[in-house]
């Protein structure tokens, strides 16, 4: 009798069933990071020559388990990392803490591909720049691991830990050129603003947990959605959203971006501008669609404001920049506005799925064109040693190929048909109009006006490269290493294919998070 009582008070620990197949991409990625670290420990200097190749090949290798899992979840199935046998039930039930569905897999594939392109961009930059190589790739891989975990995490603790795992290596990488004051400033600024945002977000999470009694997003959704609005839940949602608004550098939380982008090593800048930002969006999407679903009255106005402010202020500040990286930072702020815009109408059940796939679609195209633009900059900087727009004058005369490729990326960022960025912007516009509400139409107008403003500064960079004379008449060609050629080839192909065959690749990003309704 006493034994029985004791068991009732403290149930036996039951090990949950773990789906190793569903977790295989994470495990491969983890082994890759461990391998890179161990190679450095065992072979020291001799391992330097191969670390970047192993990091790149390893990331390509991760695609294999990802695609294998993808074929299983392609038709709407959902895999759970853990399953638990409930008392009385015959089959174990999946736990909602870590979910592998089509959305998660598509985002994971995107993260790993972006990681691969960043490794290609880094190869020569890091090897020739006297940086700490194997540590560099090790941190890069652990940051990507954080992103991959983020795509599947469906509870507050998982999301928070994934965010820290992807951010902390990024803070360190931003300061990697450690003898350069600008890089120190970049790392420190990014770190301080980042922890501050994390603290605000964690406070919001604690409020949500306090009022709902659960860290699981599905439970939070049941508790805060539908019911009368409660001030604690509202504060919690706002604080958490603000934390991620920092991560995606939305106005008014964008101040860190230009200085950090300028000071960090350029491949790291590309990584921050694309991968880190996408991870922030993945968390925002999961939170809005799974956690805060039904609380459109709270997040819709917030997203509307963030989108309109980011687009307008980002674009106006980008107009005045003379440094290409700073211009890209402000243009990235503006692009953030475009990507957030569909979330301002996401609460409308009829177009919620369309809004989600529009955002995912934009993220995929944004990744390709932004990485490409930074890739061209890295290639040109091998000759000019500068990121000033004035130093890109007359690039056409000594690097016609790079100039043409850069033009594709710039026009794609501006949204000129028939290049990828046009399709992305068009879908944002159409989903806003479909909402058929005043706020939707207003935001659509803001999108349209900002697309025109953006064209001005993107086109002026292209004009500088095509029409001006090269400085000092120096026409020595740029030596573009094969890894950079590969990176530019991949990104330019994806950018063009998304624009010319939108229906084919559009299927890739047609995902849904509303399986449960």
């Amino acid at each position: 009798m006493l034994d029985l009582l004791a068991q009732a008070a403290q149930p036996e620990f039951a090990r949950p069933r773990i789906d190793w197949f569903a977790l295989s991409p994470e495990l491969v990625l983890l082994s890759l990071g461990a391998l890179l670290t161990l190679l450095d420990v065992v072979f020291a200097e001799r391992a330097k020559a191969i670390t970047s190749a192993i990091a790149g090949l390893g990331l390509v290798g991760v695609i294999i388990p990802l695609v294998a899992v993808w074929t299983r979840v392609n038709d709407g199935d959902v895999l759970y990392a853990f399953a638990e046998k409930k008392p009385g039930a015959t089959d174990p039930v999946g736990l909602e803490h870590y979910v592998i569905d089509e959305y998660a897999i598509v985002m994971k594939i995107l993260f790993v591909l972006v990681g691969y392109v960043v490794v290609l961009l880094s190869t020569n930059y890091v090897a020739e720049g006297d940086y700490w190589e194997s540590e560099y790739y090790g941190l890069l891989i652990s940051s990507i691991l954080g992103m991959v975990v983020m795509a599947s995490a469906r509870d507050l603790i998982g999301i928070f830990v994934a965010l820290e795992l992807l951010s902390i290596p990024a803070y360190l990488l931003a300061a990697w050129r450690k003898r350069d004051k600008l890089s120190n400033e970049a790392g420190l600024k990014y770190y301080l603003m980042g922890v501050f945002a994390s603290a605000v977000m964690l406070y919001g999470m604690s409020l949500l947990y306090g009022t709902t009694g659960s860290t699981l997003l599905v439970d939070i959704s049941k508790a805060v959605g539908g019911r009368e609005s409660s001030s604690i839940a509202t504060l919690g949602i706002v604080f958490v959203a603000v934390g991620f608004a920092f991560k995606v550098s939305a106005v008014p939380f964008h101040n860190w971006a230009p200085d950090t982008y300028e000071g960090a090593p350029t491949p790291v800048t590309a990584f921050l501008a694309v991968a880190s930002k996408t991870a922030g969006f993945v968390a925002l999407l999961t939170l809005v669609y799974v956690g805060f679903w039904g609380r459109g009255d709270v997040y819709e106005p917030l997203m509307w404001f963030l989108a309109a402010a980011s687009m307008t202020i980002g674009n106006l500040l980008a107009l005045r920049q003379t440094n290409f990286v700073r211009m890209m930072a402000y243009s990235g702020v503006a692009q953030t506005g475009f990507i957030i815009a569909p979330l301002a109408v996401a609460g409308n059940g009829d177009i919620a799925d369309a809004a989600l796939s529009t955002t995912v679609n934009y993220l995929a195209i944004y990744a390709a064109m932004n990485l490409g633009a930074f890739g061209v900059l890295i290639a040109l900087a091998r000759k000019t040693r500068s990121a000033e727009i004035s130093d890109m004058r007359g690039a056409f005369h000594y690097a016609p190929g790079l100039t043409a490729v850069m033009t594709v990326f710039l026009f794609s960022l501006a949204g000129i048909p028939p290049i990828g960025g046009w399709f992305a912007k068009f879908r944002v516009f159409s989903v806003l109009v479909q909402d058929d509400s005043v706020s939707g139409y207003l935001l659509a107008v803001v999108v349209a006006v900002n697309s025109v403003i953006a064209l001005y500064y993107y086109a002026s960079v292209a004009r500088t490269m095509w029409a001006d004379e090269a400085p000092d008449g120096d026409l020595t060609p740029v030596n573009v290493p094969p890894s950079l050629v590969a990176a530019l080839g991949i990104t330019v192909a994806i950018t063009l294919v998304f624009g010319i065959l939108p229906s084919v690749v559009g299927d890739f990003t047609d995902v849904s998070l509303l399986a449960g309704g």
Binding site: Q10, E84, S142, V149, G158, P169, L172, G187, S231
Partner: protein, 174 residues
């Protein structure tokens, strides 16, 4: 039965007295953290605030969180603060320049935030009481870490290794 007898047997009374005593110390110390002109004193007052938080957790029966609070905040974070103050050769005595700029804005932000938070907490929780009859929560936390939270738990270990390696690279002289 008179009121006095009921009070004598109610375990809530000593808890309430302890709560308000600790809370008073915490509020005073928190105020001193931002008003004292000596950085080291500010850090030491912060110790008092954090120890108060730990004590409140223990009063609520959350002994694991209370002990963690002592270990992490008083044991690690404050020591880090003091090291930071020493290593950066900050002014150790009274420093008149500390926290005079933008004092008004900071106070305004603090008061506003306090108002919003107080309103929200009182609005939602009002006079709800929590059930404190449950046995120790430490075992449950241990089970949860190795069950549904095993992925965040493992991710944290990767995170610590990455942070360690990165910090060494950044801090090295060469």
């Amino acid at each position: 039965m008179t009121d006095a007898v009921i009070l004598a047997y109610d375990p809530e009374v000593p808890r309430q007295i302890a709560f308000f005593l600790i809370a008073a110390v915490m509020v005073f110390s928190a105020f001193r953290v931002v008003t004292t002109k000596n950085v080291v004193h500010a850090a030491l007052y912060l110790v008092l605030v954090l120890a108060g938080v730990a004590a409140q957790f223990i009063l609520l029966g959350a002994e694991f969180v209370g002990v963690t609070q002592v270990l992490v905040y008083i044991g690690a974070v404050i020591v880090l603060f003091l090291f930071g103050i020493m290593l950066t050769r900050a002014e150790l005595g009274d420093d008149e320049s500390v926290a005079t700029e933008r004092r008004g804005m900071a106070a305004l932000t603090g008061v506003l935030l306090f108002g919003v938070m107080t309103y929200a907490v009182v609005d939602v929780f009002d006079d709800q009481t929590i059930d404190r009859t449950e046995a120790s929560t430490t075992g449950q936390i241990g089970d949860a870490i190795f069950k549904e939270y095993i992925i965040p738990f493992e991710a944290v270990s990767v995170l610590l290794l990455a942070a360690l390696i990165g910090a060494i690279v950044i801090a090295r002289k060469d």
